[in-house]
Amino acid sequence: MADPLIFERSVPGRRGYRLPPSDTPSRPPADMLPADQQRATPPQWPEVAEFDVVRHYTRLSQLNFSVDTHFYPLGSCTMKYNPKVNERVAALPGFAWIHPLQPASQVQGVLELLHGLEQLLCAITGMAAFTLQPAAGAQGELTGLKIVAAYHKRKRRTRSTILIPDSAHGTNPASAALSGFSVVQLKSGPDGLIDLKEFKSKLNRDVAALMLTNPNTLGLFEYNIKTIAALLHEQDALVYMDGANMNALLGISRPGDMGVDLLQLNLHKTFSTPHGGGGPGAGPVGVAKALEDFLPVPRVRKRGTRFAWETRSRATVGRVHGWFGNIGVLVRAYAYIRALGREGLMRASETAIINANYLKAKLQETYPVPFHQSCLHEFVASAKPLKAHGVTAGDVAKRLLDYGFYAPTVYFPLIVEEALMIEPTETESKETLDQFIEALLRIAEEAKTNPELVRRAPQRMPVDRLDEVKAAREPNLRWMKPAQSIVHSR
């Protein structure tokens, strides 16, 4: 039996939290608020006891797979362990309960932390400067593309094209379009990398930038990146790197040395801040020296031994966040980087790469990997051989849930048929990886011997496969009291 909605637990008159009594002289609200500004009907929020809330949301939590409870090999999402100490640090009142308008003299600690985090990210990536404002990777991309637009505008010329490989994440073209650019797609070469010939044929004086992910979504390093960057720079076009896959590169290679002009990092991936079921994240943007003036304001600056916000800059693209960014996330990432330090960060990437190659070596006979070069932190395999039995990548994903594993990213990147994009991360043990390998091999067997079992999966979840078509055709996006209609007084 499915869990009821919190609204279905509601009993009129029940309370879950009491406010302290008023200690100021009480006056009827009508004396303070004009009648036509007052709310006529209260929101229909549930009326439940504190314990109702605790039981309800504890039970709901138990319906989730999560990193804490299950192996979560979701490709390009870097679902590594999120250290608990970082939660404790972020909850310290000195971080959790400071106001963004407090004078700098009262918040030197957080300013020092943010400044220190910027320095660390510069060292890790080889970029000259960072903004910590963007609230997620996609907002980082948007910030980067606004910088690209501002750069060309400053040079008084129109550049309207962004080149994007066909293996790119969907946020790349969406961010480009939101910045007024048109997108020209680059077809990947037979090795899964940017095809130099294709690239050169599309490179012209209208190109504002290339957006590329490195390692790309196949887990492959763009071997020609320096050449590509040089060709773009010849046209005074920029190289934007989507740094979502930075977990492959810590202490291996630095984007700043590759000719990258700007990139975003996803701190909720590489730097272990929890994904929270869909955020909050943080997507700092790093730039080369020539682009530093375009970064969003305000920027934290060190003056002598003191830290302060610099609110103005001549060429800035402006502000992308209401305040200074997702500070709580930045604090966690700082604690993580300091805990791992130079040796730990390097070891994290090395281990992530070994784990991915180990899975690939054990699985590729059954689930072919279309590109042969060594992968870095992730790889894309194909469930195509199972199609002969009527089993798809999506079916494999669902069946994995029955085995107690979250699913890889499926059907992405679009250039691999029946794609299974697998990223184990460094925090999973060999034992877990072996169990995962065994499950995937068993599913391939099941596809031959009992394909119906795989096609009907999952069977051990709280619900079976859901009717997605119904969900989209008859959108039911909010609960309604039975027999109540939505008509509000308007």
Partner: protein, 447 residues
């Protein structure tokens, strides 16, 4: 500390299974000239050292919990029931990704569906999404939706809309061929006459804030009516706690209502993470940015939840998506859901009433200070603007107050250079009458 469990022996065993003799072979695909096998970062730390280091940094910040603060200006200090942290710190909420595999994410999906319902109820709007980054980016997304839905280029922003929201809108509109026009405020509220004059057929939307940045209540119903007359959309940015007493946007005809929802159960954290609330009408449903959870059935006919209408989104539509947003503020939305469940309709009204009473008490007491007076004669909720005598510098006064652990009103001159003597004062349920009285005494002595 690297949190990676495999031992050196296991790593060697795995390298052998891969068929390479050393790790370096695995990175052959990275050109040697690009190898940078060292990091200019400090050595790692043990957990106790991390706590010591970060604890020392935190200790160099003065926490609101140790101060009497009148700061608001878009970020308000509210109580958070203990249960919110107890629930939100569970790994099952904290550590999953966006629920792409619905069968293994029913908890998150049902919670989003409950969140969407509660946010619709709060705003009295028909549709709410699963959240955006913060109030400012929600306002920018509302403007972008309006430009697309109306296919008109002009955007009218009230001067009394939070300046940071206006700045974020400007950044989001780089490259968008839109024209932004600001409507002045007179006596603390948006000038309806100026608004009327600016409203022409080419206007996509009017954006106003309630209560506005000066704390004043705006004539939202009249402004909305003016906007609708020329076919423009009316966008309202609101303060969730105030809606315990104030008219919700749906009641005055807002087409899009947005808010900074962080105040519903999450600490201020120096301004982030926030929680962008985004609501609209059914008519605009298919243009809405961000994730939506929907209720459906499984093959056995049982109720279940899934992400839906994804053809609006970047991973399907790529450059034709309604927005580029992917990761949003899931955990903060969960915190808000737990908070709203605990408060219920009565709790919200009680919290709003406490704010109204404390702020009106503070307003009355601060009028006693000889060199302070109300800047505007307007109704307000929990925040108001005061004017100093020309001879008094509020920043100097604030430095004096700081010595007594009091943070005075926020000087508005950095946001509004034409208001050099104005400051913004806020009182929420966390301020006691005692604290307000002590602050008033300190102010009287400060000049």
């Amino acid at each position: 500390m690297d949190y990676a469990p495999n031992t050196d022996d296991q790593r060697q065993e795995m390298l052998r299974a891969i068929g390479v003799s050393s790790f370096e072979e695995l990175i052959n695909a990275v050109p040697v000239e690009l190898h940078q096998r060292s990091l200019h970062a400090p050595h790692g730390l043990a957990e106790a050292q991390v706590l010591e280091l970060c604890g020392a940094l935190a200790a160099r910040n003065q926490s609101l919990t140790d101060l009497t603060s009148f700061l608001g200006a878009g970020q308000y200090h509210h109580l958070i029931p203990t249960v919110v942290d107890a629930i939100a710190s569970r790994g099952e909420w904290l550590t999953p990704y966006t629920p792409y595999q619905a069968e293994a994410g029913q908890g998150t999906l049902q919670a989003i569906y409950e969140f969407q319902t509660m946010v619709c109820e709060l705003m009295q709007m028909e549709v709410a999404n699963a959240s955006l980054y913060d109030g400012a980016s929600s306002t920018a997304e509302a403007v972008i939706l309006s430009l697309r839905a109306t296919e008109q280029p002009r955007v009218l922003l009230s001067e009394a809309l939070h300046p940071h929201a206006r700045e974020v809108i400007a950044t989001y509109l780089i490259g968008a061929n839109a024209i932004v026009q600001e409507i002045p405020a007179v006596n603390g509220v948006t000038d309806l006459e100026a608004l009327g004059k600016a409203l022409r057929d080419d206007v996509a939307c009017v954006v106003m804030q309630q209560p506005n940045v000066f704390g004043c209540l705006e004539p939202m119903a009249q402004a909305g009516e003016l906007a609708h007359k020329v076919g423009a959309l009316f966008v309202s940015s609101v303060y969730p706690i105030s809606l315990g007493l104030l008219q919700p946007p749906g009641a005055y005809g807002a087409d899009i209502a947005v808010a900074e929802g962080r105040c519903l159960g999450t600490p201020i954290s120096y301004g982030g993470p926030g929680l962008g609330l985004f609501t609209t009408t059914s008519a605009l449903l298919r243009k809405i940015p961000g994730r939506l959870a929907g209720c459906t059935v499984d093959h056995a006919g049982r109720r279940g939840f899934t992400l839906t209408l994804q053809t609006r989104e970047q991973h399907i539509r790529r450059e034709k998506a309604t927005s580029n947003i992917c990761t949003n503020e899931g955990l903060i939305a969960l915190r808000a859901t737990v908070f709203m469940s605990l408060l219920g309709p009565e709790g919200l009204k009680e919290m709003a009433t406490l704010n109204l009473e404390k702020a009106h008490y503070a307003h009355e007491r601060l009028r006693d200070v000889s060199w302070l007076r109300p800047a505007f004669e307007q109704s307000f909720f929990n925040e108001f603007t005061l004017q100093c005598d020309d001879a008094v510098d509020i920043e100097v006064v604030n430095r004096t107050l700081a010595k007594a652990d009091i943070i005075g009103g926020f000087p508005l001159k950095s946001w509004y250079p034409s208001m050099p003597h104005a400051s913004l004062w806020c009182a929420t349920e966390v301020l006691s009458q005692d604290a307000i009285d002590r602050a008033v005494d300190a102010l009287k002595k400060a000049v």
